[in-house]
Amino acid sequence: MISARGLRKSFGDFEAVKGIDVDVRKGEAFGFLGPNGAGKSSTMRMIASVSPVTSGELRILGMDPATDGPAIRGRLGVCPQEDTLDNELNVFDNLYIYGRYFGIDRATCRDRANELLEFAQITEKAKSKVEDLSGGMKRRLTIARSLINNPDLLLLDEPTTGLDPQARHVLWDQLFRLKQAGVTLVITTHYMDEAEQLCDRLVVMDKGVIAAEGSPRELIEAHSTREVAELRFGVGEHEALAEKVEDLGDRVEVLPDRLLVYSDRGEDVVTAVIDRGLQPIATLVRRSTLEDVFLRLTGRSLAD
């Protein structure tokens, strides 16, 4: 579906994407995980065939965005990071009119719009103004709009950023259903839980390059331990205490508010820490996540 080789994007002197190789296969949910400014959105815009490739090779659905842009865009669904819904049109018209841009005839557009309102669970809002929708509803409408042309490939740029937890879960459920229906999804996110939930395969991006690639499980196995012991001490003590627990795990990460000790046996770490007479204010043993993978690969946390 997508094949990129040495893909680059520059804006003047600034290089946002510094030569990445990516392959997305039919039917999978593929993720770009990385902090803000990692080059995810620039990559997405190149894939969406609206932003010209600076150098390297890019094939979308077997076509070249430089010469087949309109043909590619006709088969893509794009859910941009910022809502680009038309506030002056009502909810139904946002879908209907968008369908017309793809050359879909009026009757089909109307049917599709009604189906998608149902899918997005906003049928009762069909005649409402977009302004009156909640953030979650707007996002669902944006996704519904991106499906109006039955796309072969759906691009979702930060689909749940800014949504409350409940709205996120509704949205994830919908994306799951799309995935099950066989739609190929490409998602960018800086939420590791979102990437774990939705993506079959993902690349971790940082500063315009790919730091690692694999399924969430593979990445965790390759770059982190099975478990993590989180130790919280008093403010400002973490740096100094890191040395005292260093030998207890494979490695230790110092965060401003806690120490992370990576070990396959987290409980043992906590017991040993207490045996040494250190008195953490709070402890937590959990499984490694993609957040830990990211921390390992870049030395920074995703929230930075």
Binding site: S51, P80, E88, R100, Y101, F102, G103
Partner: protein, 274 residues
């Protein structure tokens, strides 16, 4: 960069100009349905205000001497063709300033549209087609309202004058679109209205014969796009057509429109390329 490639070989799946506009018909129809009421009231009221204030009240102080009024038998007959041409320009500029910036910056409509098979030139074409429609209907109403006042010398003249008004409006819409697509902030629009639209309206021969400006300024006035529209519009309305002058006026406006289209498309192309 992108425009260079579109010129040599069109990308596969490129829509014909007609298809590109047809796909946006429903969008602009919806926009029109939402805004037509205000437009209609404006198009009826504005000409009546002008006619009463300028033509009747102000015109009462002015002799209807055809030799000094470019062949018009009354001041009203003199200013009507110019007023309508200036009105066309004003609609063109106001419809191509804030709405263009809005579609780029505030509503991001252009970005959403560009994620579909539509291309930048399709967006420009449909946008301008809508503005031209607004100009054409407003000028038609203006002319029809004034027809009973005996300001036209033939039945076919006003029809050609109307086409000239639409043409001058088209040229201004395209040129303004190009400027708006390049402006980063709406503060520039104040300048366009105060230092562009206002002086053009006042000094391009709509209210007085440009011969009154003196030899130098008269030539400056002849160089303004609006004057060419006023000139065409007036010659047709008063049936005083100098065909060689008309050909020059027409050529200038057509060239300006073509240059304006290019200017608008390249401007928007650059602006939306992110």
């Amino acid at each position: 960069m992108a425009t260079a490639t579109t010129q040599s070989t069109r990308p596969t799946g490129t829509l014909s100009a007609w298809e590109g506009m047809a796909r946006q018909y429903d969008y602009w129809l919806t926009v029109y349905k939402r805004t037509w009421r205000g437009g209609v009231i404006g198009s009826f009221a504005a000409p009546l205000f002008y006619v009463v204030a300028m033509g009747v009240l102000l015109g009462g102080f002015i002799d209807g001497d055809p030799s000094r009024l470019e062949g018009a038998t009354s001041y009203l007959a003199f200013i009507v063709p110019g007023l309508v041409a200036a009105h066309a320009m004003q609609i063109a500029v106001s419809e191509s300033t804030y709405p263009v910036m809005g579609a780029i910056k505030w509503h991001k409509t252009f970005f959403a549209q560009l994620a579909t098979p539509l291309a930048v030139r399709d967006l420009v074409n449909a946008f301008i087609a809508f503005v031209v429609f607004r100009i054409a209907s407003a000028c038609a109403v203006f002319m029809l309202v004034l027809a009973p006042f005996g300001v036209f010398e033939s039945w076919w003249g006003p029809v050609l004058a109307w086409l000239a008004q639409v043409l001058v409006g088209t040229a201004f819409a395209l040129l303004t679109f190009g400027v708006s697509a390049r402006l980063k902030s709406e503060e520039g629009f104040g300048l366009i209205f105060r230092l562009g639209v206002l002086p053009l309206t006042l000094f391009s021969g709509a209210f007085f014969p440009i011969a009154n400006l003196g030899p130098v300024l008269e030539w400056v006035a002849r160089l303004t796009p609006l004057w060419h529209g006023v000139s065409l519009s007036r010659m047709f309305c008063l049936d005083t057509v100098d065909w060689s002058l008309a050909a020059v006026n027409l050529a200038v406006l057509v060239v300006l429109s073509l240059v304006g289209w290019r200017w608008a498309v390249t401007g928007l192309d650059k602006r939306l390329e992110v």
